[in-house]
């Protein structure tokens, strides 16, 4: 443990040495700016930076890419809160309560809470990562196809949490989302499914057009069609009721939830191939489970912003573990990080963790610094961001509409992506209009591929007699968590509706 702490201190000294500190600062500012531009995410920035950084020393690369990873995460939640447009799939959990807060004129509170939860969550994530480093390494190695399958099922079970108004509708939308994930080549036989004679669908549907259509376009069409004066329905910023102080204090008022969401984010984020989506939704589900006092989830409860944001930022630290320890990336961002590291002669594995631990910690500290920097800047400009919610619809809607359409095309340079985005936009609009939940589609779409691949592998292992569930404690824990996630809301609902129970 002493070696780990020494390396942590050495890494910190490397980051704050002049001019090294410039790399995480510039990287963070670039990532924040880029992730607010249409179609240009933090991942795009990393892809653009790889060829530009050939010939650099390993340390600046590590600092810059760590900052890129941290800087982009927070901005996705800002657009989710303001426009109901998640920057990425993990931010879809934030919009469930963040956007209703913005519509009530409390965007400032929601953004401040998101910023504070991000900073504190990332801090918890890194502390937990350092403390659990040896145990997490062992835990990851114990994950096989049955555990991945059950983890996907656990993530899918959170659909019940996000469809509190109608479970039937939520589950059927999850079914539609899973079917969208099955489009393209079958992972086992390579048989083409649901491509309907088009080449475009051979590789399956991509998450960006689906998200842009279901949320961004649908929201803008709805905003114009509804005739609302502005997102918040207010005419000037003086009518907004949000408070930065209230948002900043929320993580301290709900410190237990904050800590538990951070642990969820770190542990789930450390499992390769799962990413922040499961972490954010599981944390949201946990917030709903654990709330007893006056819950308003889905209608703008601040805990619904706090929990997913804490988990989403805490997972950044955890997601580095499989990349650095085994060279196994879990997301597009970590794939590009891995590419940048190996191109510059940094080979992930036991040697990296043993011989270059200070460099590893420099990456972790850059990520940490970036998370704090984005949060401080986010807090500083939360009032300005909140003002967007009073911009008149007739001015805001065409600008956002154009930005979304540009994003859909710029994303891969393929006009057909725009057609898909537009179709999902109209579909999303009617889903919203007729009160069908859209978030279950995203959860199921993201987890569908993981579910199917590991279902096939698990069945093959089962056929070979290689699975003994009782000898797999992680699988048993996941089964218990899934059953708990599904049963607790039903039990609560029954208790609340029992005659004589307090409402």
């Amino acid at each position: 443990m002493d070696a780990v702490l020494n390396a942590a201190v050495d890494g910190l000294a490397l980051v704050f040495a002049w001019p090294n500190i410039l790399y995480p600062v510039i990287g963070t500012l670039l990532a924040m700016t880029f992730s607010f531009l249409p179609g240009v995410s933090g991942v795009t920035l990393m892809a653009l930076a790889i060829p530009l950084t050939f010939g650099w020393d390993p340390l600046p690369i590590v600092l810059l890419f760590g900052a890129f990873m941290g800087g982009a995460t927070f901005m996705g939640s800002v657009t989710a809160i303001l426009f109901n447009v998640p920057g990425g799939a993990p931010n879809a959990a934030t919009l469930l309560d963040g956007h209703p807060m913005a519509m009530r004129g409390e965007a400032k509170t929601a953004i401040a809470c998101s910023a504070a939860a991000s900073a504190i969550g990332s801090t918890f994530g890194i502390v937990i990562l350092i403390a659990l480093l040896p145990a997490l390494r062992d835990l990851i190695l114990r994950f096989g196809p049955p555990e991945f399958l059950l983890l996907a099922v656990w993530g899918l079970s959170t659909v019940v949490m996000v469809s509190s108004k109608s479970w039937l509708k939520g589950l059927s939308m999850a079914g539609i989302g899973m079917m969208l994930a099955f489009v393209g080549l079958d992972p086992r036989t390579a048989e083409l499914r649901f491509a309907f004679g088009t080449d475009y669908l051979h590789d399956g549907l991509k998450i960006v057009p689906v998200l842009l259509g279901l949320f961004a376009l649908a929201e803008m069409i709805d905003l114009i069609a509804s005739g609302r004066a502005s997102i918040s329905g207010k005419r000037n910023a003086g009518q907004l009721s949000g408070s930065t102080r209230k948002g900043c204090l929320a993580p301290f008022r709900h410190r237990g939830l904050m800590l538990r969401s951070s642990v969820i984010g770190t542990v789930v984020g450390a499992i390769p191939g799962i990413g922040g989506t499961v972490a954010a939704f599981v944390a949201y589900g946990h917030a709903v489970h654990s709330s007893s006092e006056d819950p308003r989830f889905g209608d703008g409860d601040i805990r619904g912003v706090l929990a997913p944001e804490a988990a989403n930022d805490a997972k950044d630290g955890g997601s580095l573990l499989p990349v650095l320890a085994f060279g196994v990336p879990g997301s597009e961002g970590t794939i590009l990080l891995l590419a940048a590291l190996t191109l510059h002669g940094i080979e992930p594995g036991r040697e990296l963790l043993a011989d270059q631990l200070a460099l590893v910690f420099a990456l972790i500290w850059a990520l940490f610094l970036s998370n704090w920097l984005t949060s401080v800047l986010g807090l500083a400009v939360s009032g300005q961001f909140a003002r967007i919610t009073v911009v008149r619809t007739e001015f805001l809607a065409p600008v956002i509409l154009s930005l979304v359409i540009i994003a859909a095309i710029v994303y891969r340079g393929q006009p057909i992506d725009l057609v898909v985005t537009a179709l999902f936009g109209v579909f999303g609009y009617y889903l919203k209009r007729y009160d069908w939940p859209r978030v279950p589609i995203v959860i199921a779409f993201v987890l569908g591929g993981l579910f199917e691949t590991n279902l096939h592998l698990t069945l093959q292992l089962q056929a070979l007699g290689r699975i003994d569930l009782l000898a797999r404690p992680i699988a048993l824990v996941l089964v218990v968590l899934t059953v708990g996630t599904l049963l607790v809301p039903i039990i609560r609902h029954r208790r609340r509706n029992r005659p004589g129970s307090p409402r």
Partner: protein, 148 residues
């Protein structure tokens, strides 16, 4: 009143799910394993929801909601503007369609004089060109008409 709309939308979803079920049944054994486990219960759920919607529709013959009436009034123009922009981007490319959209929107919806609308359109073109082409070096597809 949106009850008929809701019920029709639910039926459309059920129709789509049944179509996917039919497609799934044409697949080979391993390829249809996961889809059949998913789409079959989805069809059942949607069928239940369709029945519930139709039953509630027949029991709900109240007066129309004025807010919903306004929403319907704004829906057709919103979809028209959106559809036109998408079609224009596909045909003429972003760099022409988006400035044209702003020019027309400023003139027709914002009711600005045409010379101001022209300036807004030109500004949109300048921002697009400078940001994506000059600064970021990102390729903007020219649209089906211009690419031949």
């Amino acid at each position: 009143m949106t009850r008929p709309g809701r019920a029709v939308f639910t039926l459309l979803l059920l129709g789509g799910a049944l179509w996917l079920l039919a497609e799934t049944l044409t697949l080979g054994g391993p390829a249809r394993l996961a889809p059949i486990w998913v789409i079959a219960p989805t069809c059942v759920l949607l069928a239940i929801l369709s029945v519930l919607e139709w039953r509630s529709m027949s029991g709900d013959r109240g007066s129309p909601d004025p807010a919903e009436g306004r929403k319907r009034g704004g829906e057709a123009p919103a979809l028209l503007w959106f559809g036109s922009l998408v079609a224009a981007v596909l045909l003429a490319g972003i760099s022409i369609a988006v400035p044209l959209f702003f020019f027309l929107y400023a003139g027709l919806k914002w009711k600005r004089p045409w010379w101001i609308a022209l300036i807004i359109g030109a500004a949109a073109f300048a921002v697009l060109y400078l940001l994506f082409t000059v600064v970021l070096g990102i390729y903007l597809p020219p649209g089906w008409l211009r690419s031949g």
